[in-house]
Symmetry: C2
Subunit: 193 residues, 2 copies
Amino acid sequence: MHENLLSYINRHSPTPLTKDEEALVIATFQPKKFRKKQYFLQEGDVCKYAGFIVKGAMRQYRVDEKGAEHIVHLFIENYWANDRESSTMLTASKYNIDAWEDTEILVITRAEMLDLMSKIPAMTEMIRLMDERNAIANQRRLNSTLSNTAEKRYEEFATNHPQFIQRFPQHLIASFLGITKETLSRIRKQALK
Amino acid sequence: MHENLLSYINRHSPTPLTKDEEALVIATFQPKKFRKKQYFLQEGDVCKYAGFIVKGAMRQYRVDEKGAEHIVHLFIENYWANDRESSTMLTASKYNIDAWEDTEILVITRAEMLDLMSKIPAMTEMIRLMDERNAIANQRRLNSTLSNTAEKRYEEFATNHPQFIQRFPQHLIASFLGITKETLSRIRKQALK
DNA sequence: AAAAACCGTTGATATTTATCAACGGTTTTA
DNA sequence: TAAAACCGTTGATAAATATCAACGGTTTTT
């Protein structure tokens, strides 16, 4: 169950985990299962857990005043599900995170994570690297959103994240890209020619 | 010259700097001046420096295939100018950063920063906190971009960042929000009623 | 002091994207 | 296995935003 996580940590830090550290990681991360459609986080709650996805797929979204959903993140294996704003500021989350498929996930509280980081240098390294990548990815996404047309954004996304295209239905991809499902459908039709 | 930076660091870390640490910070950050329009970073170069702005204003932008500029960040006093992707991955930057006003800035290389972080815990804390805030701010900006109309985005921006509205001309604000200057002009006219 | 560059605005028009409604083919649920 | 929910598509139309061109008033440069 924890192998994916251990190898993820080792892949993202210069110093491999010792056996003791591995044991501590395993003891701290708690395995949970979420059935399809089950909430990992609901709007209004404080996000108490970060979750490392071992198997399955989740989505994070916001519901606007008119009741429309806006996908902000899609997660699959080896991704972290979390509302960072809520969990670090301890404020009510504006987002929902739920399971799109039946999902196995390893959860950890913020306090536990800070404790692990103080005890395991590799953990701190990993978090730093993750943050770095995340910052870069967000910057790219923002750019793409601000200065490309819907068509180009879809192209970019499809070439950079083919796994997501296969895994999630089109209307979720459309929402993630900030366009309607109808527009995406038409873009794809165009692209075939 | 360095007071702003020292107080910034102390404001963003739980443990205040010791006198020795202060001296080290002052010795490491190098003061530079940039005249209006002067480049801090040019597209194609690797971003070697991060800069803490002591006085003045800068902008970061991308030039697309058609030669149009897209503002991705605006910086004023107490902001950090940097292309994170380029400076951490050592890749050619896709961005330009230049001075919008005459600007005084304290620069540091990535290697120097890592060295400082290893010697000064408060520095590491500061960077972590900064990263955290940045991640949160980016998430918010992305959301706003994906799910709000241009009008609402401008409203949000104007209430959350009045300093920028006063400091930069409208066409830069428009570009930052991902809309044209004409559209922003019309939105503002509407809003007066 | 004249010329040039910059800035915000407005009008006319074109393009992009959203909205609304309907359909047939899945897949899931009861 | 029948009913319901879900999914992608298409058409008609509406709304949001971009583009192009021009203007007068600054401010900056020469």
